[in-house]
Structure formats: C-alpha cells, structure tokens
Symmetry: C2
Subunit: 328 residues, 2 copies
C-alpha cells in the first residue's frame, strides 16, 4: 500500500494533485473532498471516493497526507489550521506577506493535535525560496534578482476585468530579456520595476465600450500597471479563449555575488523554470513534499514546516544509499 493522499478542493490544483499522485508509484489517491454535492463531482480517477468535506473526520485514519487545494486569499488561512487538527496537511499558501501568521496558526494546531503541516509549497514560494536561501547562504556578499514569466498573472487579469467596459482579459507578465542578460553578466545593475518586466494585456470589450478609455485606465492603474511598460491588445472573446487559455508560467532567481579578499571574483547562481502548466507543476512539488510530510510524521515530528526546514532527500522515493550512489 502506498502513501494514502487526500485531496481537498477539486479545482486546477486538485486535478493537478490527482495527476501527480498517479505519476508516483509509492502513492495512491484515497479520496477527494469537496464542498459541492459529491454525487455531482466527476473526477478523473476511477473508483476513488468523492466525499463531502463535512464527513472528513471519518477519514482520519484512512488518509496519510491531506493536500489542501484551496485559494490563499480566503480558503487556506482557515482550512490549513482546521484540517491540521485531523490530518497531516500540506498547502501552497502563496501570500508572501501573510506567511508568518499562517505559519503560527498551522504550527499551533498541528502541535496540539500531533500532526505535521507543511505550508507554502510550490515554486514561489517554494523552489524559488530554496534558490534564494541556498544562494544567499553561499554568497553572503551579493544581490538577488527574481524575474517572473512569461506567464499569466491572475491578479492583474482580474484587475483589468474590473474596469467598466471590459468583458474579459488576460495579462502576461514578461521578463525583459536585456535586464536578464545584464544580471547574468555579473554587473549587479540597479533595476527599476519598469526595467525588469513588461505587461502585455489581451482585452475583450463589452459592446459599445470605449477602447481608448479602457486602454488609458489600464495603463495608468496604480501598483498594477502605472510603473510598467504596458501593451494592450483588443481581441474577440473567441481569440481570447482559443489563444490565451494556457496556464504556462516560469521565472528566474539569480544571485550575483562576489568572493575574494578584494571581492575581485564574480559568481552567478541561477535557477529558472519554464512551465507548460503552472498548476500541474505546483502540484508536482506539493506531492514530493507530501512524501516528506509522511516521513516526518512517521518519525513522530509535529508542528509546521516550510521547504526551508526539510532535507532534500525526504522528497525522493529513493533510499539514501541509492541517492548517494547515483545522484550525489
């Protein structure tokens, strides 16, 4: 019997976890938990029970790790501490500024009930955090650069959709290639917001809306667009659905540092991702850390953890001996 995974929430992330579990031989999907009426939810895996979240407690001993697939804005701040009382849990909480309070809440619930909770797992926070921590520890004298994209920003797309006259929209964050090259050269440039990323918007107008007015509102929107070079394309709803439905994303974490008694030597540490499917990749990371959660729990550890606390070997299904022989 493999590690028994529960999925709570069957959106893009839930479906990604389902896929990732199938790709890992040491795991099995035990059940999918939903707030909807279970009989109406069709999942991809044959024979796996769909359960109403209200009945989750009955599954206490039948789930090794519960993967929480809700959103960071309102779901996870409640769900992760709540379900940490019943299960070992893992989430992809990605509101950077609120991580300390989320950590505290999950830590308390998990410790009191004797569970493990791993939070903020994915690629940023997640793998990008690892890249930042490793490279800062190795090159204490240096400068960090993070670039995102090319990929859709949900927050920016939503901001455009709230403008009067806009029917639908997708916004791509695009890293500026020349800025990336400047960073890679080791010149440690000071880069303004505008110099690092451009924003590309694909907008479907409501009938009779004023295109020039909408474009002006987008380009001058504070925080979201005003500090960026923004391009706006007006397209039809058909074009939007056909050409801009993808979930590709990616990004770059680069640390540029110096060593030597005179700081005369430059070094570049770069980590980058190019992802066809943001949710499927995020959940692939989640599932590797679900394995770690299972192992930590077996050791009797309790409380909250992040990717920074977990030895890399705990993510792999292979033994320490095997890893040392073949991957070290």
């Amino acid at each position: 019997m493999g590690i028994r995974i529960g999925i709570l929430g069957y959106g893009n992330l839930g479906r990604g976890v389902e896929c990732a579990v199938a790709a890992n031989e040491d795991m099995e999907l035990a059940a999918v938990f939903t707030r909807r009426e279970p009989s109406r939810l069709k999942i991809a895996s044959a024979g796996v029970p769909v359960v109403n979240v209200k009945d989750a407690e009955a599954w206490k001993d039948k789930i090794d790790v519960m993967v929480l697939c809700g959103g960071s804005a309102t779901d996870l701040p409640v769900q992760t501490p709540q379900y940490a009382k019943l299960f070992h849990v893992i989430d992809s909480f990605d509101t950077h500024a609120r991580i300390p309070e989320h950590y505290a809440a999950v830590d308390k619930a998990a410790k009191e009930s004797g569970h493990i909770g791993i939070i903020s797992v994915g690629w940023d926070p997640g793998l990008f955090s690892l890249a930042r921590v490793y490279s800062n520890a190795i090159l204490p004298e240096g400068k960090d650069y993070t670039f995102w994209g090319k990929g859709v920003s949900q927050g920016h797309s939503d901001a455009i959709r709230r403008i009067k006259g806009v029917k639908n929209a997708k916004q791509y964050t695009v890293p500026v290639e020349s800025a990336l090259e400047a960073v890679r050269s080791g010149s440690n440039p000071e880069l303004s917001t505008r110099q690092k990323h451009t924003r590309e918007c694909f907008v479907v107008l409501e009938e009779g809306a004023d295109a020039a007015q909408v474009e002006q509102e987008i380009k001058t929107m504070p925080n979201y667009f005003a500090d960026y070079d923004t391009t706006v394309h007006f397209i039809t709803e058909e074009e939007l659905l056909k050409n801009h439905g993808g979930l590709a994303h990616g990004g770059f974490v680069i640390r540029s540092g110096k060593t030597g008694h005179e700081k005369e030597h430059s070094h570049i540490i770069e980590f980058n991702l190019k992802l066809d499917s943001n949710p499927e990749f995020t959940t692939s990371v989640l599932i590797a850390y679900a394995r770690a959660a299972y192992r930590l729990a077996k050791e009797g550890q309790t409380g909250c953890r992040t990717v920074l606390d977990i030895p890399p070997a705990y993510l792999s299904p292979r033994s320490g001996e095997d890893l040392r022989k073949h991957l070290l």
Copy 2:
C-alpha cells in the same frame, strides 16, 4: 565568539576557506593546520596560528568545525575518517564513484567518536546534486542533463601533460550551445558525448617536440579525448601563464519532464553556475555547510551527512522566523 573554523591544508581550497570565513560574520578562523613546517607557511590572515597537523589533537576543544582541504585522490579518503575522530569535519570529496565507501568510513569514525562529518560539499557533487535530487523528485517522468564549463578540467590537463614532448597544458571543457538550447526546448534529445561538450587544449611543447604527433596523441586518447571534438592550440609558456591561469568554471543541470494524464505538458527545471573562481566558490559552499555541521553537532547529532540530508535553513545565519518573513 563566532563558529571557530579550522583549515587543514593551505592550497587553493584552504585559501578559499580563509576568504569565505572572513566574509561570514558569525565565523572566525581559529587555526590553519599544515603538513609543512608551520614557520615557513605565510597565510593571509594576521594573528591566526599555523599549526603542524601532528599537533592537531591539542586543538580538539578549540575548533568547532575542521574544514579538510586536501585532494580527493589520496588525501581525503584517509584524512576525513581520521580527523572525524577528533573534530566535526567537512570535506569536498568529489570522486563520485567512491562516495559510498567514503561515506561508510566517515560515518563509522564520526559515530564512534560522537562527531558530525559532512562529505562531498561543493558544486558537483554538492549544489548540482541538490538540483538533481529536487528536480527528480518533482518530475519523476523526465530526463536529466548535466553540462560542465566553460572551465579548466584538471584531469584532462594532467593527461595532456603526461604526453611525451609536452611541457605544459591547460584543457577547457566547453558545453555545446546548440545542445543546451535543444535541451531547454523540452525536446528531450538523446545526446552523445560528442554532442554535449567540446574540448579545447592549449599546449606548450618541449623544445624539438613533434607538434603533429602530440596533436594526434591528444585527439585519439581513449576516454579523455577520443569521443570528443577536440581542438589543439600550440602556444608559448608565457601565453599559457598569462592567458590561461584563471580558475573560472561553471555548468548546467537541467531536468526536462512531463506532467498531465497524457504527459502532454513539458517543464524545464534549470540550475546553472557561472564562476570566476572555482575554488573560492567551492569553499563558499563548504563554509555554509560548516555552519550546518556546527548546528547539527549542537543538537547532538553524529555520523556522516551529505548535502541531501541537510535542511536548507541550516546553511543560513538568519533565524527561521527571519527567513520565513523575507526569503520564503
């Protein structure tokens, strides 16, 4: 008082450790140990004792972590287990095929004497191993690619110098840009040895040596050059010393993998390094892991560890709280 570091062996690595300790505020250099006559060894740090290795035992309680800076061929297989009896130790043992036996020897010595030993720390093995283990755990369906360079290969330079008629030589390993691009495209190419790297040799001949004969011997040398496209340049000793004395290196670890029920989505995870000074960077990694060794020892842990066993947060001088707030 900071973490008290000892250096054993004052070559390129030893000097790099000295530099890295100076760059980390929570550390101090306690002593340099040498097999040479101590009074004849001039080190960069004023006021730091230089001690004959024979007297190391007297320093048992004055060193928190001993950094072993010997070579992997003959020094470290003996030194690391030997000094693990007296100190918490760390080394950069890089003979991949012999890691399992080195691990066993260090584990035994460290456990018996109640010490921690971290082996094979640097960038390959080391950071590249981390990239391989993380990315394999995340994308179980995929293919690994490692490229080295551009940088000097000591082993290949030595092989050229053993040829009759050769006075001196430097050999650069150069990754093939088109192969790197093919890998990054997600096409999962099958790449032969010849397709991944080229070899570029700068050779100084002895007086009267036959250039054509030397070039032929290099290009047909089994294992080292026969399977590669190799270029040979004959230069003067002055040119070699002036233009090819650098210690730059680097490389790329890329995992190209698939997710999705039909494996329809491609993902690229890339980690790359561009280093002005291979020994200074390697020792910067060593020193970050020396901090981890110190912390593991404080917890009372004993035995051998590799980079795969150590939580990333242990490398950083910052607290868990600080890391969660600013780098996660």
